[in-house]
Amino acid sequence: MSAPPETAPGAGGWGRHVPAVLAALGVLLLLQLLGTLVVAVLHLPVPGAVVGLVLLVAFGARYRGLLRRVEPAGDPLLRHLQLLFVPPGVGVVTEGSRLAAAAGPLALAVGGSFAVGLVVAGLLLQALLRRGERP
């Protein structure tokens, strides 16, 4: 099985010598670090990566070429986001006893806020969308 040629459609001329996925990862990391810089300079109480997300939304809405650059790494990362949760999940073994001690209230808090949140969000948005679309 041979890999398809690494030519992102509509990509600019730079960075042709590296696989598209590496170039994309580079752009994502650069945006994350830019976000970290913004957070450090402005003393914001949010993670740098979240500011990087906002930066990508802002730049990407204007420059579609940037999105095509980011997709080769961004899409597979998002599809397999779960893999990145395995290490902390394994760590719960070390927190097991604390979890067991407060298991009842935690289950109620998580299950309750899940069910209530889901129903409220679904019903409210459906009602609002219907009202907005009525002629």
């Binding site: 994502l28 994350q32 109480p45 949010v46 993670p47 990566a49 979240v50 990087g52 997300l53 906002v54 930066l55 990508l56 939304v57 990407g60 809405a61 997709e71 961004g74 990362l77 998002l78 986001l81 779960q82 893999l83 990145l84 949760f85 395995v86 290490p87 902390p88 999940g89 394994v90 719960v92 073994v93 070390t94 927190e95 604390r98 407060a102 009842g104 209230p105 935690l106 109620l108 808090a109 299950g111 309750g112 806020s113 899940f114 069910a115 209530v116 949140g117 889901l118 129903v119 409220v120 969000a121 679904g122 019903l123 409210l124 948005l125 459906q126 609002l128 969308l129 009202r131 907005g132």
Partner: protein, 232 residues
């Protein structure tokens, strides 16, 4: 044998191979939500580490590249948001109102239930980010001085709940609009719920990822303020 087990690459190899196997198992059994690859992988890795007597710190050092990828993955969440952009902008008032009301209600229920039982403040701070997509929840748990590993478990539980029970619960209360169904699942069950919503329809999936991202942004701003009441 010892040389292999304690090689710096062992933890990473174990995790990747377990994930591959879990994904294959999940596909062959017809994608049951309870056997989500992330759960199976976590259990397999934890058991293998216990059996071989590998410490968590050693394992964490081996998989540091996965931890590092959480940053770029968070930035990449901009992609689904931009793809759903036009439809969202057209109904921005409805979307923002839903985001706000649901956020208040679900944080309220979480805090209320835990306070009712007199659970320690640091556990309250740990449970707060549970509806947020995991890369952001992890960072938030750090910001809020919660217990990061526990936050991840509560987040995963929320995700699996959404994938297993979400669609049925929404049908029960007669939410039929695919946009509202997707948005509700994404808001409460982030990435794992989103993959379930995508299976329902493209529209539901798009609105679900958008809800996941908007919720992450809103909670990043709001939760540090809420946590202050609990000594965060």
């Amino acid at each position: 044998m010892n040389a292999v087990v304690h090689a710096p690459a062992f933890g990473l190899a174990l995790t990747l191979l377990a994930y591959l196997g879990a994904g294959e198992l999940h596909r062959r059994l017809g994608r049951p939500a309870l056997l989500a690859p992330v759960l199976v992988t976590t259990v397999v890795v934890a058991v293998v580490l216990q059996v071989l007597g590998i410490g968590y710190d050693e394992y964490l050092a081996s998989v540091s590249v996965l931890t590092l990828l959480l940053g770029p993955a968070t930035v990449a969440l901009a992609l689904p948001l931009l793809r759903a952009g036009r439809a969202l902008l057209a109904s921005r008032a409805a979307v923002l109102a839903t985001l706000l009301v649901t956020g208040v209600v679900s944080v309220g229920v979480t805090v209320g239930a835990l306070e009712l039982f007199g659970v320690a403040d640091d556990l309250v701070r740990t449970a707060l980010p549970r509806s947020v997509t995991t890369p952001v929840a992890l960072t938030l748990a750090g910001t809020l001085h919660g217990v990061a590993t526990l936050t991840v478990v509560l987040t995963l539980v929320s995700g699996v709940l959404g994938a297993v029970a979400g669609p049925a619960l929404l049908s029960l209360v007669r939410v039929t609009d695919p946009r509202a169904r997707g948005f509700a699942v994404g808001l409460t069950s982030h990435g794992i719920g989103t993959s379930r919503a995508l299976a329902e329809s493209e529209v539901a999936g798009g609105w679900s990822s958008a809800a996941m991202v908007l919720n992450a942004l809103a909670m990043t701003v709001a939760l540090p303020l809420v946590a202050r009441w609990f000594g965060g």
